[in-house]
């Protein structure tokens, strides 16, 4: 198969959803254009931004960092060590090696040192690991960004992630979640930093192909905590549809983002509140409640630990 763009070189990536196939050089042009168009259309970033890129060691976040640097944005990487035996160490190695190859040193937050490693925290509060992880990561993304005077936080969520989330929110009619789901979450007074997802137009296959062709050494093993994540069920359903009807995913998501879509104009739920967030009574982070969800969770972890210590070894 020949490249559909240059019509000379052998194709390396076939994309049925775009009725296209590209050689490596033309694929780089295509991919970067998809990302920059995604940024431009939704005004995610501007040239003067200081971007905190959240990197996990996986393909999406490292590819995002790579593209943003190549596009000339001022970026720093943030790696959160989740404290998962083996997996966290291997992920961190990939992040440090990639960062070093680009002359960078990422900011590292170690959850074990913060007293809230994910596996133990999830056991203590009896919640799904992914749910605990989401709360803790969101807290540190914002805290590091605010402390480091970054103007925006960027994450590597791609089209597959966003459509899986959309399908889940629709199936459960999570109207307040639907109202907030967008590649751009504006910042707010009180220290809530803007959050963006510049990869919203590209699929997982596309980011993996870009990472492979650019020789970005990412961690290919899955997080051991996510083996039964519900997002994987939605992803599988959507990829079956995509197999039969290429291009459905992007149509689904673009239709959702259309400003005339009434689902996008639902009022925010009670938990999110309206107006500006207040300072958390415990840590000072922006929150719509008296105490932020991170501090409430950390308190529950502390209490569970004390209870266990009082009971003594079994």
């Amino acid at each position: 198969m020949k490249c559909k763009r240059c019509r000379r070189a052998e194709a390396a990536v076939d994309l049925p959803s775009h009725h296209a196939a590209f050689c490596p050089d033309c694929f780089f042009v295509f991919f970067r254009r998809q990302v920059t168009e995604g940024i431009r259309k939704l005004r995610l970033l501007s040239p003067g931004d200081r971007v905190l890129v959240c990197v996990s060691g996986g393909k999406d976040s490292l590819v995002l960092w790579d593209v943003l640097m190549d596009e000339g944005y001022e970026t720093e990487g943030l790696y959160i060590d989740l404290g998962i035996d083996g997996y966290s160490g291997r992920s961190k190695e990939k992040v440090l090696a990639y960062a070093a190859s680009r002359g960078k040193t990422p900011i590292v937050v170690e959850l074990a040192k913060e007293g809230i490693p994910i596996p133990e925290a999830a056991r203590c509060v009896r919640m799904q690991e992914c749910s605990v992880c989401g709360t803790v990561k969101r807290y540190f993304f914002n805290r590091v960004a605010a402390e480091g005077k970054f103007t925006v936080v960027a994450t590597g969520h791609n089209l597959d992630d966003e459509t899986a989330r959309l399908l889940g929110n629709l199936l459960h009619w999570q109207r307040d979640h639907l109202a907030r789901q967008h590649p751009l979450l504006p910042g707010e007074e009180g220290g809530l930093v803007r959050k963006v997802k510049p990869l919203w137009r590209v699929s997982e296959v596309e980011t993996a192909a870009y990472g492979f062709l650019k020789a970005i050494d990412y961690v290919t093993e899955e997080c051991p905590m996510s083996f039964d994540a519900t997002s994987l069920v939605y992803k599988e359903a959507l990829s079956r549809i995509e197999d039969r009807m290429p291009g459905t995913r992007i149509v689904f998501y673009k239709g959702f983002l259309d400003p005339s879509n009434p689902l996008r104009n639902e009022p925010a739920g009670e938990e999110e509140g309206t107006g500006a967030p207040q300072a958390c009574a415990s840590c000072g982070a922006p929150t719509y409640a008296e105490t932020c969800s991170y501090c409430r969770m950390r308190e529950r972890v502390r209490n569970a630990r004390s209870l266990r210590a009082a009971r003594g070894p079994r």
Partner: protein
């Protein structure tokens, strides 16, 4: 006894390896391995293969899952 060369299909994330007689197109190898094409990239050394690429006997290809959860 003579062992005819075959295509080696490695699925590193599943720690699985298959031997399949060639020549075959990538999409046929994926079907044989029970893998859906929209969930993987397929590589041969430093080369990325399209789904209609014809793989010859004796070749080794890697099927890398791209699906991340959480």
């Amino acid at each position: 006894m003579y062992n005819a060369p075959m295509i080696t299909v490695r699925l590193p994330q599943k720690q699985k390896e298959l031997e399949i007689p060639g020549p075959r197109r990538v999409m046929d190898l994926l079907a044989e391995a029970g893998v859906r094409p929209t969930t993987v990239i397929v590589t041969q050394g430093r080369k990325l293969l399209t789904k209609d690429h014809r793989v010859e006997d004796g070749a080794t290809i890697d099927v890398i899952s791209v699906v991340s959860g959480g």
